[in-house]
């Protein structure tokens, strides 16, 4: 079994010295984010990740999630771990206080997400997607929708999912076919959705699906897609669980990695249409989804940091234990491979890339905090432009680097790295999806050069380059 130790000191360094935690803690509403509070939360989270989540990573990979007759059973231990995760209040950390959240900054949330993902990437996907669903309802839901769904979703009693992809509509969501027909105060949803992470599971009593679908009179293409809340179980007016909705998990995918994360094929409306509630305005679903996607893409980019850190810790541990050969120019005694120059090169490369990635991801999270909370509207706009520019870079570059680092981790293990037993291969397999989902590297690159650079004639990019120059001047 492979262990994980949260690199709290490195995380705090990136948060305080590079991402400006002290400045973030002065923003309105974040005054409780004192250095002591941050240190305590990171230490507690690190313990939870190491003691509860990390030991389930390899067994979860082996057992995977199973489906029979539409009922999904998660890997052994996941249900209990999720219960502890909710009891510990971890899902509430970044959520708004009026719905039971702790209202902590994105910068702290991102450090916790790194720990969940590094200790158990498959597990971490469930709270990550729930968080995105919470944000969508918080921003665009009606008061009644918030009253019905927010509190149990913020606490983690219920989880949330994002249903975008269909067999013919992958990166090209314009091809979305799922339908929504109005019926009184709700809609009837029908269609097939694929690649739905934690679309069905046994961790909670209800699952709240956010589903993209077309209204009968919707225009063709991306401007005719609306967003709906479709709960697995309908919710009664008093908040209790009601009738089962017309949706089911048809099957689970067999994947290269993240085996313990159930990737569901979902079928809506086999018996006449699942009850769904429109979020926001008709035909603006994709626009809402894109606003949510900024956070989701930052979180996926962060997976590059997390898996790299885990792979590094594992490779370093192995390199210190594995005795092979006599290191050149040191002694004639057989020694651990950590003493071989090329193994040093690989370890340093993993370490340096991980730290650079972490710094960039944390700085981007900090600018999201500023874009939401800074009292000066010009500063908010500046921070938003900075985050918008960096998010495709964080998503694309970090996940590509993560693949490289996880591969280097396998290499350091030599032949043992190719054997599943060591665990190095799992990091390599798990990491591979991150450069694909939430928009492939190619999609990120087009977002960067088109929407983020060409559209404002390079203004945001020039501002960033000016910041880089200022840092260089300071170094001289």
């Amino acid at each position: 079994m492979t262990t994980y130790k949260a690199p709290v000191k490195d995380m705090l360094f990136a948060m305080r010295e590079l991402a400006g935690l002290d400045e973030i803690a002065k923003l309105p509403g974040l005054e409780e984010t004192t250095p002591d509070v941050v240190q305590t939360i990171l230490d507690e989270a690190g313990r939870f990740a190491a003691e509860v989540l990390a030991p389930l990573n390899q067994p979860g990979d082996r057992a995977g999630a199973r489906v029979a007759d539409g009922v999904v059973t998660t890997a052994p231990g996941f249900k209990e771990a999720y219960r502890q995760f909710v009891d510990g209040g971890w899902p509430t950390v970044p959520c708004p206080p009026q719905f039971g959240g702790q209202g902590m900054p994105q910068l702290l949330s991102i450090a916790l997400q790194e720990m969940w993902c590094a200790s158990n990437m498959a597990f971490s996907l469930c709270p990550m997607l729930s968080q995105a669903a919470v944000e969508a309802i918080e921003h665009y839901g009606t008061a009644a929708q918030k009253a019905m769904f927010m509190v149990p979703m913020v606490s983690g009693e219920w989880t949330g999912t994002m249903n975008l992809t269909e067999p013919q509509a992958g990166s090209d969501l314009a091809a979305t076919r799922a339908r929504a027909v109005p019926e009184g105060d709700h809609y009837r949803i029908s269609g097939t959705k694929i690649f739905i992470t934690f679309g069905e599971h046994d961790l909670t009593e209800n699952i709240i699906h956010l589903v993209l679908a077309r209204l009968p009179d919707a225009p063709e293409g991306t401007k005719g897609i609306s967003l709906f809340i479709v709960p697995k179980f309908l919710v009664n007016a008093d908040g209790t669980i009601g009738a089962r909705n017309d949706l089911q998990c048809v099957s689970l995918e067999h994947k290269l990695g993240i085996h313990a994360s159930p990737t569901a094929v979902m079928s809506y409306g086999d018996k006449g249409g699942a009850v769904g509630y429109l979020i926001g305005q008709p035909n603006r679903g994709l626009e809402y989804m894109f606003l949510m996607m900024n956070r989701a893409r930052l979180s996926v980019g962060l997976q590059g940091v997390a898996v790299s850190e885990r792979a590094y810790q594992q490779a370093l541990g192995f390199a210190r234990e594995r005795v092979q050969g006599r290191p050149l120019g040191v002694s004639n005694a057989r020694a651990a491979i950590v003493h071989h120059p090329d193994v040093r090169r690989m370890l340093m490369s993993m370490k340096a890339q991980t730290e650079a990635m972490r710094a960039l991801a944390y700085c981007t999270a900090a600018s999201l905090d500023k874009s939401i909370r800074h009292p000066d509207s010009k500063e908010r706009a500046r921070a938003q432009a900075y985050a918008d520019l960096l998010i495709p870079v964080v998503k694309g570059w970090l996940t590509e680097q993560g693949n490289e680092v996880a591969s280097t981790g396998v290499q350091i293990h030599g032949g043992m790295g190719f054997i599943e037993e060591t665990g190095a291969a799992q990091h390599f397999r798990d990491m591979r999806i991150a450069a694909i989902y939430e928009g492939t590297t190619g999609i990120q690159a087009m977002d960067l050069v088109g929407r983020k650079i060409a559209r404002d004639a390079g203004a945001a990019a020039h501002a960033l380059i000016a910041d880089m120059r200022a840092s260089c001047d300071q170094l001289k």
């Binding site: 340096a352 890339q353 960096l390 870079v393 694309g396 087009m446 060409a454």
Partner: protein, 93 residues
């Protein structure tokens, strides 16, 4: 690139991933340089955390020597790589 975006959009698209990698590599280097500057400053008043800050300096140095040089290669790909990416007829791939 801004000038070319509408004039030669296929060339820009062909070089977009190398451009993203260039951007990331340099932005990562920027952060490592900032980390090194902080570490250097803290080392002056070294208070028991000497090893931690020396590690930060060494790691930043490694990044500068080994990872950052990739920026030159990405830059050449961005500026000169599009034509050969698109040169072959699809049938000849």
């Amino acid at each position: 690139m801004c000038d070319n975006f509408s004039a030669d959009s296929r060339a820009v698209a062909a070089g977009s991933v190398p451009y993203l990698m260039l951007f990331g590599t340099v932005a990562g280097g920027w952060q490592m340089a900032r980390a090194a500057a902080v570490a250097q400053e803290k080392l002056v008043g070294a208070n028991g955390d000497k090893a931690f800050y020396e590690t930060k300096l060494a790691t930043a140095r490694y990044y500068a020597d080994h990872i950052l040089p990739r920026a030159h290669a990405y830059g050449r790909e961005v500026l000169h790589g599009a034509a050969s990416t698109l040169r072959l007829d699809e049938a000849l791939l």
